[in-house]
């Protein structure tokens, strides 16, 4: 469904992604982990269209989308829940969700379905989004992305800054979204939740894939080494790929 081919991305002189390639099949759930600055968020911006690569191509459902704008990609079915949620703070919860449907993609997600997934925000639908708690805001952000009926949902650090019990609750919902067949690609610092949800784990280091495999095949020691680059020999160390 998603194919990234030899992508390099820069911020000025700094290389954020270095000739990186990645494939993701429909219905899979891929968790991207790695230290700060490893290129995780850059990877998501390349897929969502907020950033263009200096080299390499991005394919979605066999189409080359490397040069497409973000709004075009949303119409194709790629939605991003950005880090920091980026709600429309002055708009109501319901207006936030309705704006999520701007791309007019058909599908099972509508206001009711989102409220069923996140009953908490149904009661607060006419409140201004900025008046909500962090967990509620994250629910709105995910709900807003779902309103576009994405076939690929990108999630950038959804657990950031939330209490553990809220995170658990959020992941219960993410499991449900994945179970309904939406392909998920999440960037996550919370390793245990990422491992419980994902069918594939990719660990990035300095803009490259340093480790890839199913959660059950990756032991914590290997992951720690990959995470921090200790014992990193410069070649790609691959776990079993599907």
């Amino acid at each position: 469904m998603l194919k990234i081919e030899g992508v390099t991305a820069h911020y000025g002189q700094l290389i954020a992604l270095d000739e990186m390639s990645l494939e993701l099949g429909a219905g899979q759930t891929l968790a991207v982990v790695g230290a700060n600055g490893a290129g995780k968020s850059t990877l998501l911006s390349l897929i969502s269209g907020e950033k263009r690569p200096t080299r390499g191509r991005v394919f979605f459902e066999e189409q080359d989308i490397t040069n497409e704008r973000t709004s075009q990609r949303v119409r194709r079915g790629i939605s991003l829940v950005p880090e920091g949620r980026q709600l429309f703070g002055s708009l109501t919860v319901e207006d936030n969700l309705l704006t999520g449907a701007a791309a007019k993609r058909k599908g099972e997600w509508d206001l009711n379905a989102v409220y069923e997934l996140f009953p908490l925000i149904r009661d607060k639908r006419s409140r201004q989004a900025e008046s909500l708690s962090g967990g509620e805001q994250q629910a709105v952000a995910i709900g807003r992305a779902l309103m576009a009926n994405p076939s690929l949902l990108l999630l950038d650090e959804v657990s950031l800054g939330l209490a553990p019990v809220i995170i658990q609750d959020l992941y219960v919902r993410l499991h449900r979204i994945a179970a309904e067949g939406t392909t998920l690609l999440l960037v996550e610092q919370n390793i245990s939740e990422a491992f419980s949800l994902a069918s594939q784990i990719v660990c990035l280091l300095e803009g490259r894939v340093i480790l890839r495999g199913a959660p059950s095949d990756i032991d914590m020691g290997t992951l720690r080494d990959a995470y921090f680059g200790s014992g990193y020999s410069g070649s790609q160390q691959k776990g079993e790929t599907k």
Binding site: T70, P82, Q86, G100
Partner: protein
């Protein structure tokens, strides 16, 4: 009672100021574009109406039927072809581009129409009025303009609050990045905002032309009044803009009553006082943002 009349005239004039100002507020709210050509675009619309009346005759009110649709289309493409190139190149470039546009429009009008003042003549209707008592009168044209202004402001408010396109405009104004992530076509949304702004500015320009005579450089003073109305009322609030227009109109009216040369000065003083003591404006924060 003479002062009461000054207040009444000020309120009526304030409606026109607010109508002329709401497009400025809309473009700033949605795109952070400070449109320095705003006043000149209103004057341009007025000259367009003059050309129509001179060529086809008839009541100048008919010119609305042509000028407003043209303004809607003109606004859309003004954004797509010119102003949109400025949105991602810093906050200075829209100011420079619209300043340039302002000079171009003013000078083209000067070349084409000369410095003689023009006027959209509605005949007797221009001066017809109801006398409430010996001192207070209400001009029929002024009242019509005030009513149209309130209806347009209310309609714009409803459009922003209730319609899908209005919601997309508010969302884009609130967080352009998130709007793009939702699949909102930012170019189209911005063009719609400018299109609406041009329709309101053309309406205001025509009304100005029916109440006072105008020359090519008149746009500058219209722009100042529009700015003052928006700031007095509070940025991003349409009812605030109406209040701001009325406060400005009443200040000018009272100033005129005090000394016929001091009206605009009084308006400016009140504006500066608001800036000094309540810079967020009278109605800041309340109501739907534009």
């Amino acid at each position: 009672m003479i002062w009461a009349n000054a207040v009444v005239q000020g309120i009526l004039l304030g409606g026109l100021y607010a109508l002329f100002a709401c497009g400025l507020s809309l473009m700033f709210g949605v795109m952070r574009i400070v449109n320095l050509a705003h006043g000149d675009l209103g004057v341009l619309a007025a000259y367009f109406a003059v050309v129509l009346v001179n060529n086809f005759g008839g009541n100048p009110l008919w010119s609305f039927a042509t000028v407003i649709p043209v303004a809607l289309i003109f606004g859309y493409f003004l954004q797509r072809w010119l102003l949109d190139h400025t949105v991602n190149s810093g906050e200075f470039s829209p100011i420079l581009v619209t300043f340039g546009l302002s000079i171009v429009i003013e000078n083209l009008l000067q070349v084409r129409f000369g410095a003689n003042s023009q006027y959209l003549n509605l005949g007797n209707f221009t001066y017809a009025s109801w006398h409430i008592n010996r001192f207070v009168y209400v001009g029929k044209l002024s009242l019509v303009i005030f009513a149209v202004a309130v209806v347009i402001l209310a309609g714009l408010q409803l459009f922003l609050a209730r319609t899908r396109q209005g919601r997309l405009l508010r969302a884009t104004a609130d967080n352009p990045r998130a709007a793009a992530l939702c699949g909102v076509n930012a170019k189209h949304t911005r063009a719609v905002a400018t299109s609406i702004a041009m329709a309101t500015v053309a309406t205001g320009g025509l009304f100005f032309a029916m109440t006072t005579s105008f020359v090519p450089p008149s746009g500058s003073s219209y722009l100042i009044f529009a700015f003052e109305s928006v700031i007095i009322g509070g940025l991003g609030n349409l009812w605030g803009t109406l209040i701001g227009g009325i406060v400005l109109g009443v200040s000018q009216g009272l100033g005129n009553q005090f000394n016929p040369a001091d009206g605009i000065l009084f308006g400016n003083i009140v504006f500066l006082m608001i800036l000094a003591f309540r810079p967020q404006g009278l109605l800041a924060g309340a109501g739907a943002p534009t």
